[in-house]
């Protein structure tokens, strides 16, 4: 009995330790936004420009009015994609450059909890940016949403985030090992994902085959599900939103497990090859 209680105390201690690490690492991301007010211009007003381009194309084509809403949601979700690709995956390169990576690596916590801290902090600050973009978009382009199922919508959004940031953690392991060379991967992925995930159009128009492959990217189903629930009358969905939630839940689990495996593997490899620190240190 006492052995069991010691075990449960040990487990509680490990969980608390890793939760604190996550909270600590999330802090700079959350507080950083208040310290750099220039984000209001760069992250809210600038995305509106690319959104506006697509809005005017759709207006010129006399597309149904929900397409303007699709574009605004897609535009807002690009903030998450960029955050995951550049401020989440690539972040380990910068952490190594400034000397933080070695300090995280010698701390008695899992790399996953440090990455989770980055993810939570990143998702929080990006959500504020995305909401600002949506609000500005709604005001300028007068879009009307009708929410069909708030609970399902929340579920789809939350699991899209978990799967997406899980994928980001997986990519981060590459940066741990390859450093700046892994930038090419981020560069290669940026634009094709805009297309495959249907940031500016309903993904079902890619055709079933391509859309099914694209569904491996969490944003594809996330965007499609959210659009279906915000514009229930349109009928532009790829598969039913409930199915999308189920697939996103599975994708979340897969990406988190893979991230855990890859981060452990790459950390061990980096220790073997001496890549956790800069050469001069």
């Amino acid at each position: 009995m006492s052995e069991m209680s010691a075990q449960s105390r040990g487990m509680r201690d490990v969980l608390l330790r890793n939760f604190r690490a996550m909270k600590g690492r999330a802090y700079p991301r959350i507080i950083g936004m208040n310290r750099e007010p220039s984000w209001l211009f760069f992250d809210t007003l600038m995305p509106i420009l690319s959104i506006a381009a697509f809005v005017y194309i759709y207006k010129a084509m006399n597309a149904p009015p929900q397409y303007i809403g699709y574009v605004i949601i897609g535009g807002a979700m690009t903030a998450y994609w960029m955050n995951v690709l550049w401020a989440m995956a690539a972040q380990l390169y910068w952490e190594k450059e400034i000397g933080n990576l070695q300090l995280y690596a010698i701390a008695p916590v899992s790399t996953m909890s440090v990455m989770a801290g980055m993810a939570v902090g990143g998702a929080f600050s990006t959500t504020i940016r995305a909401v600002s973009t949506i609000l500005v978009g709604i005001m300028i382009f007068n879009v009307k949403f009708s929410m069909a199922s708030p609970l399902l919508l929340t579920g789809i959004f939350v699991f899209t985030m978990i799967a997406l940031y899980g994928m980001g953690m997986m990519f981060a392991s590459l940066y741990m090992l390859w450093g700046r060379e892994a930038w090419h991967i981020s560069e290669v992925l940026t634009e094709p994902v805009y297309l495959l995930s249907g940031f500016y159009f309903p993904v079902k128009y890619l055709g079933t085959g391509v859309a099914t492959i694209a569904a491996l990217i969490p944003l594809t189903l996330g965007l499609d599900g959210m659009r279906q629930l915000l514009f229930p009358y349109a009928g532009d969905g790829f598969i039913p939103a409930t199915h999308e939630l189920l697939i996103l839940t599975v994708l979340s689990a897969i990406f988190l497990v893979l991230a855990h495996y890859f981060l452990n593997y790459m950390e061990t490899l980096a220790k073997k090859e001496g890549r956790l620190t800069l050469r001069w240190q």
């Binding site: 604190r20 600590g24 310290r35 070695q102 220790k271 620190t277």
Partner: protein, 321 residues
């Protein structure tokens, strides 16, 4: 009671193609034991293997051969257990986030060590005062000078109350005042916590001599001497350390050829200051003749007490600079 132990520890790296490729032997067959309560110094020139040794002991690098134990745990196998017992501070470290304040940065790192926020903040404030940095607690890190930043790094290392702390050239590039505060803190810390251990690498002989209970001199990845500073200095007591300052010496390497070992540096007045260890004092006459022959001028020659630098020169055959 042993705190750190290495057994035939070796580490190799693959050299980059642009550096000629091949294998670089960073550590060779290093076997040392460091006791609790010790300030243990590792002294060596650039590339000697000091940082590689620290990285292995801190679980940042795996050894190629041999074993290393920290606080009784194998660094390769039980690395999480090791990490609970240690911390590390490097010289010239630029860690942390520039947009956070000093206090926020330290708090953030404290969270990696499972320290409750209230206790962490109290501890941080106490250490900020000890390091004379309390006034800067709400300044953003990016506004700090090098010395202030290194004090903050020291606080980061000590605030987790480690059993063993690894300090990799902690006073590198700091001014006299900041270096003194750091050295005094290390001495006081180990005096107040005799069950703890400090492993310190340094370039500065005087620092090693002042702080360390024992010193390992390392060169080309190999430990070539390991003793107390006093015993190390005894290695040169049968010889004669001299300092000579001279001007107009066109070929200082001739001095080295004559006496067997000598290092020199140009001082602010443009004269050369030689350090040498003579096996036979009578060689001074030949040295004077040689300088006169070269039309140089000897400003002074001084016989002095042996220092660690003399030991280093004798063992390694060159100075640290």
């Amino acid at each position: 009671m042993t705190s750190v132990k290495t057994v035939h520890l070796s580490r190799t790296f693959k050299a980059k193609k642009k550096d000629g490729g091949g294998i670089v032997q960073a550590l060779r067959d290093v076997s040392i034991e460091i006791n609790k309560g010790e300030i243990f110094g590792v002294l060596g020139p650039n590339g000697a293997g000091k940082s590689t040794l620290i990285k292995i002991l801190c679980t940042l690098l795996l050894p190629t051969e041999g074993k290393a134990y920290v606080a009784g745990y194998d660094v390769s196998r039980d690395y999480r257990k090791v990490q609970e017992k240690i911390n590390m501070v490097s010289g010239g470290e630029t860690s942390g986030y520039g947009l956070l304040t000093v206090r926020e940065n330290l708090w953030m790192f404290s969270q990696m060590y499972n320290i409750p926020s209230k206790a962490a903040k109290e501890n941080i404030d106490r250490l900020l005062k000890e390091f004379d940095l309390y006034e800067k607690r709400n300044e953003r890190v990016r506004t700090l000078s090098t010395g202030m930043r290194q004090k903050m790094n020291m606080i980061r290392g000590f605030m987790t109350d480690p059993e063993i702390i690894f300090l990799d050239e902690p006073t590198l590039g700091l001014d006299v005042g900041a270096s003194r505060i750091i050295r005094n803190f290390i001495t006081e810390w180990i005096r107040e916590h005799p069950e703890r251990t400090v492993l310190l690498t340094t370039h500065y002989m005087a620092e090693a001599e002042e702080l360390c209970d024992r010193i390992a001199i390392i060169d080309n990845g190999r430990v070539i001497a390991l003793e107390t500073p006093e015993n190390l200095k005894k290695l040169v007591t049968t010889e004669f350390p001299f300092t000579m300052v001279a001007t107009g010496v066109g070929h200082p390497e001739r001095v080295r050829e004559l006496v067997g070992n000598a290092t020199w540096k140009e001082n602010d007045e443009g004269a050369l200051k030689f350090s040498m260890i003579l096996e036979d004092e009578s060689i001074i006459a030949d040295l004077v003749s040689m300088i006169v022959e070269e039309k140089g001028k000897i400003i002074h020659i001084t016989k002095r007490e042996p220092t660690l630098e003399d030991v280093f020169i004798k063992l390694v055959g060159r100075g640290l600079d």
